[in-house]
Symmetry: C3
């Protein structure tokens, strides 16, 4: 049990043989390694989502777990292929293309190394001339060697300064008495919930409490897209089926849902830094 | 190998990080536990399907296996969070919201306990104020402790009477000579097959045999939606491609298919207690 | 660690309980067997894709791995249920319905045996009268016994001659100076790339090099569907976002992509032996 687990997330889906090939490479490096499918349904080329999903689940895993994140629109170009060690003790094997943004901001990156392709890239099996599948030939192979103990972190490749990590800007919410504003930072594409960047603690600072009815306005590029008074409560079941509500999500961030429905579809809303949300309570 | 396996089914999909977070919780409880993905594609909020899918696959697993079923539209409300022990020796960790209906009817529930949140809920990691993700904070965590042997069944929480289990009504088919009727109880959403609640043995009682051509009528809210004479046979390959047929499904229930096609789409049919099917044979 | 791994591919999806039932059967045969999900999203009834996906990933796995491939439109009819041993040392448990075409052509089948249902089919659990789920009752059960060492390859059932294997025709590309033609052999349904049957080595024989601009014409049933001059390069990132390009895919075959887009959707193209591709370079 001494070897680290490998947790994978990609935008590959299971529609063709890419996942199966990557997992085979891992098992060919070390038959005893344990592979966990985090998800292969990150939206295509969406490095922001890759970054958010790493942040979302990482802390629930045992320290030392090796995450392999392959959302890699720049594969084969000079973007770095890297392994990061986080301040809280996890490894992330990923293209350095923004995918480390949230983990760096929330937990911190301790050190980052660029994978040395001359030693940590798959050899043979007619793969040397392949430039488009680093998920298989570089990330899975290097991650398996690291998890197995065949190489240690130093042997991944040369260190580079944290200042060289590609980061997306992260916006901070604003809080005053009876008013909090922020953005929709990400969605839950399954249930149609939208998650703001506003921590529950900011709602508490503003004086909002579970059971309150709050005025919510949503703006997109400055245009009002939604305006209503909504219940803020602990869980979906406190709202009538089909009704919108405000809740505290699994990451302690304020979020919007329709009970047993889809908030984003019902009101045709998206997420990103141009989606402003504003909560107020009339005193 | 003494520890039980954990088999998961949810309606979460892999579109965001929920599954990955749950699995991390399990591995943080006990790194050696084995997690199997049953499915994360139960239709949203569909506790009837959750119930049926548990019944469908359970008996094929080793006794002692721990099933974790999280289709939980009432999360955060007073519905019970429970662990059931079945008469045939499996554990099911689930909200008590109808998800135990079929297993109870077919195999029987021996005992059921309500999870004691004061001891069997995840602590720390900023989860105490989260009310909407019992799949992670309660069901996965408690199931992992049980499978690992950290707690035994008694330590899950207090027993409550079987009469307190929430059950959906299950309709029984009717059988006479040369005539059997029932309902479409569930679908196979992938291949488009529809499964009745009629066991093969009822067809035999009625005198129907493989190779027979039977008259099938389908009614929805009393209105006839389908009427045709169809081949009843062992497998799809006995019908021409594109043709509808009657077969004995994997659970020994009479079902309808189109060979290499979708019965439910081709004839625009659904399932539930208001979809009546009637098979007759003219003598 | 002496036991073989089981790698599954089917067209079942996770929409109902079929996968969970199959995996349960494996674990009931031998709790210690390791199950890997290759994919359950092969297109329905598409034995050609099943064949291609086996070929695509197999060589990345450790020798001795047991692949279970269940794309089986003829289940219950006299098509053979088989276990093949490949020349490079893998086992494939599959209906003999074309699913072995590519592996046979590229790696070679050493021996093939028909599964003896009298000894290698699941007993009990009310499965004897089920004819439509060989994935559960026959393929998973027999594969588990083989991987576990309960039976050896000889005990699968009787040998039959390789000439009896059902194979689809495979077309070969043609090469001359400054001109190569072939077909679209398969797609990548996730990223929308189309993969030809033309090996990179044929491009080199024709004198084409990374960085060249090549004239590409695509014909369907003789009708021209696409004509343009495209960049041939190592990876997607060398083309502007949204632009089509020619690249060397992960199996060293010439392929077409749109950088961060879908080639097949953008130009409404398919694959198969009636999709002819022709690359030329004006000197």
């Amino acid at each position: 049990m001494g070897k680290a687990m490998l947790v994978f997330q990609t935008d590959f889906t299971y529609k063709e043989g890419a996942v199966c090939s990557m997992y085979g490479v891992v098992k060919s490096v070390d038959r005893s390694l344990e592979i966990i499918t985090g998800t292969h349904e990150i939206p295509q080329f969406d490095t922001w989502s890759a970054s958010y999903r790493l942040y979302q689940s990482m802390k629930f895993w045992p320290r030392g777990t090796v995450f392999v994140s392959v959302v890699d629109p720049g594969v084969g170009t000079p973007r770095k292929a890297s392994v990061a060690l986080t301040e809280n003790g996890y490894y992330i094997v990923t293209p350095d293309n923004g995918s480390l943004t949230h983990v760096d901001a929330v937990f911190g990156i301790k050190e980052i190394r660029e994978i040395d392709e001359t030693v940590n890239r798959l050899k043979g099996k007619d793969t040397e001339d392949v430039s488009i599948f680093h998920g298989r030939d570089l990330f899975s192979y290097c991650a398996a060697k690291l998890a197995s103990g065949i190489i240690n972190f130093e042997q991944v490749g040369p260190l580079y300064p944290n200042s060289g990590i590609l980061r997306f800007p992260i916006l901070e919410p604003s809080v005053e008495d009876n008013k909090v504003s922020g953005i929709f930072e990400i969605n839950d594409p399954n249930f149609g919930n939208l998650w703001t960047n506003i921590p529950l603690v900011d709602f508490k600072s503003a004086g909002f409490e579970f059971g309150d009815y709050l005025d919510l306005k949503i703006f997109h590029h400055g245009e009002e897209k939604f305006s209503d008074k909504l219940l803020f409560h602990k869980s979906f079941g406190f709202a009538e089926k089909g009704n919108p509500m405000i809740y505290n999500n699994e990451l302690m961030k304020i979020s919007l849902a329709v009970s047993q429905g889809s908030f984003s579809e019902q009101y045709n809303l998206g997420y990103g830094s141009d989606w402003i949300v504003e909560f107020t309570r009339r005193s």
